[in-house]
């Protein structure tokens, strides 16, 4: 396999790596090396994305609040979060009496591992897709539903009433909003006819699903945005760690690197839901095409898919940050009412409408 590298299609590149490794050592070690490479890459990616999401949040927050934001460490405070990370790593890890040490230590790992696992199924660009499962959307849903376990464990094992209450609130909220997230995604899967993310992206070659599915797709997108924001425990749905009420929610008792894990995982979760939204609603790495306008489509194709993907995800993340710093926090009863009395029924009806539209062929597309 010759070495090929293209910014538009990574298939050849990954295949070259595979062939090279298999040529160099036995299949066992080849697969193992591949795993190591992917793992290291993802760790690095994870760290960078996490850190810079924190930075972005600070900047957005400052912008919305008419401030400057971090501006001392590096240009425009670019290395601020790295400095923060170093500080966190060097902080003393407080051990808590009467806590269940094992679970207390395990909880941040569960949270971070689940977010890490979810990342495995996201298509970043053509050919840059760790595992192309045929149940991709479902897999991401399944993995992210496990993250709540870590939160609950953290809350309980801290032996603190703030943590416990925060964990309970957080768990109830995540479990509830997971349903709407799932329903919104199912709506789009009905349109796509598949759960496989690569297929879903490929099907948006003509037109992104949010346009193709018009009315129900837009509804699903709005629901998804609300529910995903809530599922990631971000404002205005951040009751679980409502600083004014519960100290810091389930991670009140954590410090140092373990706190950093929770912190990082929260931003990674935001990244994951944003990239899933970008993939399912906005075509993932697929450039913006309009059926019939060949020249326009061709121009769009020149922009690399990775950039499309990053742009769309960044747009969604921006939207979520915008929410957080614009809307006031909800009460817990308002939160649950919103989910069970509005979002869930609407999404159920929305699925039916979408199914009907698909059945009648009334979606936009050629």
């Amino acid at each position: 396999m010759p070495f090929t590298f293209s910014i538009y299609d990574f298939t050849g590149f990954t295949q070259w790596i595979d062939a090279t490794l298999r040529g160099a050592c036995s299949p066992f070690w080849a697969v193992l090396w591949e795993m190591v490479i992917v793992g290291v890459l993802f760790l690095a990616f994870y760290a960078v994305v996490g850190l810079y999401l924190v930075y972005a949040e600070r900047k957005v927050c400052a912008f919305i609040q008419n401030r400057v934001g971090p501006n001392r460490v590096g240009p425009y405070g670019f290395f601020q979060t790295i400095a923060d990370l170093i500080k966190l790593l060097m902080k003393e890890i407080i051990s808590i009496r009467e806590a269940d040490k094992l679970l207390f230590n395990l909880a941040p790992f569960i949270v971070i591992v689940t977010s890490f696992l979810a990342l495995a199924a996201i298509p970043f660009a053509k050919g840059l897709h760790p595992i192309d499962l045929n149940i991709g959307v479902f897999y991401v849903m399944a993995i992210s539903s496990m993250g709540v376990v870590g939160i609950l464990l953290a809350g309980w094992s801290s032996n603190s009433k703030y943590s416990l209450l925060g964990a309970m609130r957080s768990g109830a909220q995540i479990i509830s909003y997971e349903l709407s997230v799932g329903m919104a995604l199912v709506t789009m899967c009905v349109l796509a006819g598949s759960l496989q993310l690569s297929v879903i992206v490929e099907q948006q070659r003509d037109l992104w699903f949010i346009f193709k599915g018009h009315f129900p797709a837009v509804t699903a997108f709005i629901i998804y945005m609300i529910a995903a924001t809530a599922e990631t425990n971000r404002g205005p749905f951040d009751l679980a760690e409502a600083e004014s009420e519960l100290a810091a929610g389930f991670h009140t008792e954590y410090s140092g690197i373990k706190f950093a894990f929770f912190f990082l995982a929260e931003y990674m979760n935001m990244f994951i839901v944003a990239s899933l939204a970008a993939t399912v609603f906005l075509g993932g790495w697929m450039p913006f095409h309009i059926p019939g306008l060949e020249s326009f489509n061709h121009v769009m194709d020149f922009i690399p898919p990775v950039l499309w993907y990053i742009g769309k995800t960044a747009f969604i993340i921006l939207l979520m940050m915008w929410f957080k710093w614009t809307f006031p926090r909800l009460r817990i009863d308002q939160l649950l009412n919103l989910e069970w009395k509005f979002l869930l029924p609407i999404s159920l009806v929305n699925i039916l409408i979408m199914a009907f539209i698909v059945l009648m062929g009334w979606y936009i597309g050629l």
């Binding site: 066992f28 806590a99 094992s157 032996n159």
Partner: protein, 173 residues
Amino acid sequence: MEITVNHLMFGLFAAMIMVFSILTVTTRRILRAATFLLLVLVATAGLYFMLNYQFMAGVQLTLYAGGIVVLIIFSILLTSHISQKFEPVGWKKAYFSALASIAGAILCITTILQHKFQATTEAAKEIDMKLIGNSMLSTDRDGYALPFEVISVLLLAAMIGAIVVAKRKKLKE
């Protein structure tokens, strides 16, 4: 026999299952038991992935790991305190139960190892979501429409039943 990554993965999952399932039933802290159960279930999902039943693995993760275990942990949070530890099981009970379990396990394992399984020579079926969905709502010979509907009724009944049972009655003081 050449060792492949498959063996490595299988060994990892099998070890997880065996160790954590035994820990689940022997640990004296209830939330640890739940956590170990979660790990067992995740490892089981891994086995399903290895068997190429990706949908089943997803269901396992969503329903078991993400649903039932979360439910169990929630109920633990509501009913137990962190300082609670189980009484050690009486040696008599532990001894006899272990004897029965180990004897049963040995019996089953010897039987499994001695038995010669006969596989069909038919070509394997590619399982994708379309096939599963169609089978689920099909009334043909390989259709599962009836159990599907029955399960839906069961789930409805369970949902209503759980709500009714757990509903807080007005306490008459």
